[in-house]
Amino acid sequence: MQAFEYAEPKTLNEALGLLSSRWGETEVLAGGTDLLSLMKNYVATPKRVVNLKRIAELRGIAEDSEGLRIGALTTVQELLEDQHLARFPALTTAAEGITSPQIRNMGTVGGDLCQRPRCWYFRNGFGLLARDAQGRALVPEGDNRYHAILGNEGPAYFVSASSFGPPLIALGARVRIAGPSGTREIPVAEFFVIPRNENEREIALRPNEILTEVILPATARELHNATYEVRQREFLDWPLATASVALELRERQIRRASVVLGHVAPIPWPALSATALLEGKTLTEEIAAQAGEQAVAAARPLSKNRYKVQLARVAVKRALLAAAQGGA
């Protein structure tokens, strides 16, 4: 790990004042479950690390007229234990999927959304877009078994690592972001972006901004929602593909639907055509399967990840059936 300056601000403003306007110079530390391994592997080499954990205003889960506010420092475990979350199985299933108690106790909601991709070329020092010294893109010709099947026209081929992204998008959540010139709020759907060059990141945060909270709108409470994750192991393992769905049902008829795929694209991937297919239908096993088919219709697998198309297809089907079964 490269030596760095360490700061422990007590207020958000103090923290913001410590951040650089250029990526890489400073890094924000929450639970550290990702940042520390990035630093140990010299993938991140910040000059200054700004620890957020002393900032009280980033903690806690509270409900008000707007909806449910989840502070960025809320740990994965706190999220799982909070009663308000019982209505959001789409989110708790994703949290349960992080099967390491250590990571659940340390990792935070903000950190989950801001964590860096697990692409093994990135993690082995070839950059976010995984190019060799000659500028050759390594993923298309290399081992891409865990890479993107959607949104993979390049230059990005990694998959978004956050398991919270897809359910939050499906539930219509927003994030609140604090920066040097005040705060802004954007839908989680707009928080994830596909970088076009090495100087960009995979989130819409600017280097001198801090994600302060996630807001689940009051309306989300009425949605039948679920997540299905395909993991090879029970033991702490990354999903190979996931689907999060949220349905507004009347009787058994779908009035509005949202289907978002995870771990199959550089961003959580909204499956719009599947959504369109579902609206107005009564959910049956056959309709669920058709929606799965639609969700991956545009997939363009790389040389070694065609199997992920099937996994995403099944994840959509199973998530839909689970959502329809569960109460709102």
Binding site: M1, Q2, A3, Y42, T99, R118, W120, Y121, R123, N124, F126, D132, R136, L138, E141, G142, D143, R145, Y146, V230, R231, Q232, R233, E234, F235, L236, D237, W238, L240, K304, N305, R306, Y307, Q310, L311, V314
Partner: protein, 729 residues
């Protein structure tokens, strides 16, 4: 310790008969269990010496290149850096990513890491080759044909066959994943070196250190090197040598005048500390309609990195018998790659040969529309121990409910829902004859007992077994014996490889303890008024055989030694040990045919290993082996990038191992009693890890109606096999 004259070794020596065994064969918890579970046991990794420096390796970032320059000038001036030792010189060729180039030592681990990064190494790149491919896809300079062997007349055999199966099977390069990394702490005292090493070879390491250090210009003799390994965190065949990092660690300590710790980091473990060679084969095997085999032929290949990694002997177990002879032809080609070196991996070559053989035979059984249990039972005459395998197959079948649960392949697939179940089985064998071991037993006048051997306990229970044998022989409770192992100052004992330890140490301990006891009996015989031959040690007493009323307590007996302890040595005794075991494993799996995800629901291991010393640690070997087997069957693979020559998963994140939830129910049955016990002690460390890959692969084939040809059985491969079949997907 004072030397006492030793009576000549017993002419014959034997294990106590079943009715006299109090400890041998019982389920006894390991002596060091509490210390390990509580963290009090100190591994080499835990050794911290006053003023100790921390060393790190600088390793090659290139898969193949010539080193043109090594510039340590910046690193040398970095804070805390005390010494640098070159392992390779400029001009040398590196042959894998992770190859050791130099080591440096600094005050703290972080300083050493930073300095290691500041070392500049310039390379002239050379073309690399890291793909694990069949010979026809590798350059001619990358191949070596190792063996073409024919026995009997396979062509005639194939002509007699009613059914011939052709298939391709194999498994990739995997690594050892020892919980404790490779490495050691070294410390000089004048010209004497102490090494706290994580090694499988306590008694054999000193000469290696001496030789390596002499080559580095540091004159030291084996007699000046003390090696200590009181406890050890796993080796699995990868820790027999001093290694470049051991020699470098000692050289750094010499240069810096301080003790030095150098343990490999996890990525280096995966890159450089050894892999299990891959093995693949195209198989043809024929049988009569009734299932009796008529011929085998195979073309196999695989890579052990820069070396050949040995020739397999195919087919495995079935076809090993000389009479009747299964006509067979086999050929193996080694493919050289720049993926890093191979090291012995628990039962070298056997898991691979087992997978290839048992999967091909299972497919043949399916083609014959036979239950594989019946098919294997029918062909046991081709094994070297048909009766044992028959008994084990029937026992395993019973434990897993084979007769109730087994369905032909197609039928399993027709089960309702996406999750299908299947059963598979496999057979294996191993030698396991005890190595050369020497033991020293000391009986002190106060009644305390020491047993010392230059052996090591890799986590298998060796320490406990030694204690059991000594206590049994001396008629004492286990707690009365102090076992001293893990130092080359004790009598030399073999390296722990090839499942040779239990036979070596149990027989040498029995020998030494018997010799010590005979001395004691001779000493106290006059007091009890009978010749020594009429005395025995039982339940903490020395007594006249069959007359416990005439006896001395152990303490009273030892008190008669005055001030001089009894010492007696023993060595490996051929009449107490044997070689050659068989084992059968069966697996029940469930496969989600929509996702390709395989779960092991239950595994059964039935295993013989002669006379069992400690039933609990023996069973633990089988449990551990099945877990290791589930890992390589479902998850493990060292993944190399063809373009860059890098290993893509040198971590525990994408180099996957099973967690508790992935293991399923494990059942172990050890074959004991008449027919087994009288064979004496045979090793067990390796055999139970051989079959899991084949048993699980066969169970998956049974569940989904088609073979997934290669391990690990990952979702992509399972789905591809289903799709090729015309798909349940």
């Amino acid at each position: 310790m004072a030397e006492t004259p030793k009576p000549p070794a017993q002419a014959t020596i034997e294990w106590p008969p079943a009715e006299r065994r109090r400890l041998i064969g019982q389920r006894i918890s390991r002596l060091d269990g509490p210390a390990k579970a509580s963290g009090r046991a100190k591994y080499s990794y835990d050794v911290n010496r006053p003023g100790m420096l921390h060393a790190k390796l600088v390793f090659s970032t290139q898969a193949r290149a010539r080193i043109t320059a090594i510039d340590t000038s910046v690193a040398e001036k970095m804070p805390g850096v005390r010494a640098i030792h070159l392992i390779l010189q400029p001009g040398a060729e590196v042959r894998w990513v992770g190859q050791e180039i130099l080591a440096l030592a600094a005050d703290t681990e972080e300083q050493a890491r930073d300095a290691a990064r500041a070392v500049q190494i310039r390379y002239e790149p050379l073309p690399h080759f890291v793909a694990d491919v069949p010979p026809e896809q590798a350059g001619a300079d990358r191949l070596q044909q190792l063996r073409e062997q024919t026995e009997g007349d396979p062509e005639a055999g194939f002509q007699q066959a009613d059914v011939i199966l052709e298939g391709e099977y194999g498994c990739p390069v995997i690594t050892h994943c020892c919980l404790e990394a490779h490495g050691q702490v070294t410390e000089w005292n004048e010209d004497n070196l102490t090494v706290w090493a994580s090694t499988q070879n306590v008694s054999g390491l000193a000469p290696q250190f001496a030789q390596g250090l002499q080559a580095a210009g540091i004159p030291v003799q084996a007699s000046q090197v003390r090696v200590l390994t009181p406890v050890m965190g796993g080796g699995f065949g990868s820790k027999f040598a001093a290694d470049t990092w051991g020699v470098a660690c000692a050289a750094l300590a010499r240069k810096a005048g301080r003790s030095v710790k150098l343990m490999l980091e996890r990525d280096q473990e995966l890159l450089a500390a050894g892999g299990r060679p891959s093995m693949y084969a195209r198989v043809r095997v024929g049988a009569k309609r009734d299932g009796i085999l008529t011929a085998w032929s195979s073309e196999s290949w695989g890579t052990g990195g820069p070396s050949t990694a040995g020739t397999p002997n195919l087919p495995y177990v079935i076809g090993a018998a000389r009479n009747p002879l299964l006509p067979k032809r086999s050929r193996h080609t080694a493919v050289f790659t720049d993926i890093g070196p191979a090291r012995a991996w628990r039962a070298p070559n056997h898991p691979q040969m087992c997978l290839i053989t048992m999967c091909a035979l299972d497919d043949l059984a399916a083609k014959l529309q036979m239950d594989p249990l019946d098919f294997f039972l029918k062909n046991l005459q081709f094994t070297e121990r048909p009766d044992v395998y028959r008994e084990e197959l029937l026992k395993a079948a019973d434990l897993i409910g084979w007769r109730q649960k087994w369905r032909p392949r197609e039928e399993a697939l027709r089960a309702k829902g996406p999750v299908k179940r299947g059963l598979g089985l496999s057979l294996h064998t191993w030698g396991g004859r005890g190595h050369n071991s020497n033991c020293l037993v000391t009986l002190h006048p106060d009644g305390s007992v020491e047993v010392a051997l230059g052996s090591q306990d890799l986590g298998t229970g060796t320490r406990t077994v030694i204690g059991i044998v000594a206590a049994e022989t001396l008629g004492l409770p286990l707690e009365a014996v102090t076992v001293k192992i893990g130092s080359n100052e004790y009598p030399p004992s073999g390296a722990s490889g090839g499942s040779t330890t239990v036979g070596g140490v149990s027989s040498s301990t029995r020998d030494a303890a018997t010799n010590a006891l005979n001395q004691l009996l001779a000493k106290v015989a006059p007091a009890l008024g009978v010749p020594a031959e009429q005395l025995e040690a039982r339940e903490g007493r020395i007594q006249v055989k069959d007359d416990p009323s005439r006896s001395l307590t152990w303490k009273q007996a030892c008190a008669r030694l005055g001030t001089t302890p009894i010492t007696a040595t023993g060595r490996t005794r051929a009449e107490l040990i044997s070689s050659g075991v068989g084992g059968v494993q069966m697996a029940e799996v469930s496969v989600d045919v929509e996702t390709g995800i395989v779960r092991v629901e239950k595994m059964v291991a039935v295993q013989d290993c002669g006379l069992i010393m400690d039933l609990k640690t023996a069973e633990s070997q089988c449990y551990g082996a099945m877990i290791m087997g589930i890992c390589y069957a479902l998850y493990e693979e060292k993944i190399m990038d063809a373009l860059t020559g890098q290993c893509l998963n040198p971590d525990m994140e994408f180099y996957k191992l099973a967690g508790i939830g992935d293991i399923g129910e494990l059942v172990v049955h050890m074959m004991t009693g008449p027919g087994y016990d009288e064979r004496g002690v045979i090793g067990l460390g390796e055999p139970p890890v051989i079959s899991p890959g084949a048993a699980i692969s066969n169970a998956v084939a049974n569940a989904i109606g088609v073979r997934v040809p290669y391990l690990p059985l990952t979702p992509d491969r399972v789905l591809a096999a289903l799709e090729a079949k015309g798909g349940a997907v």
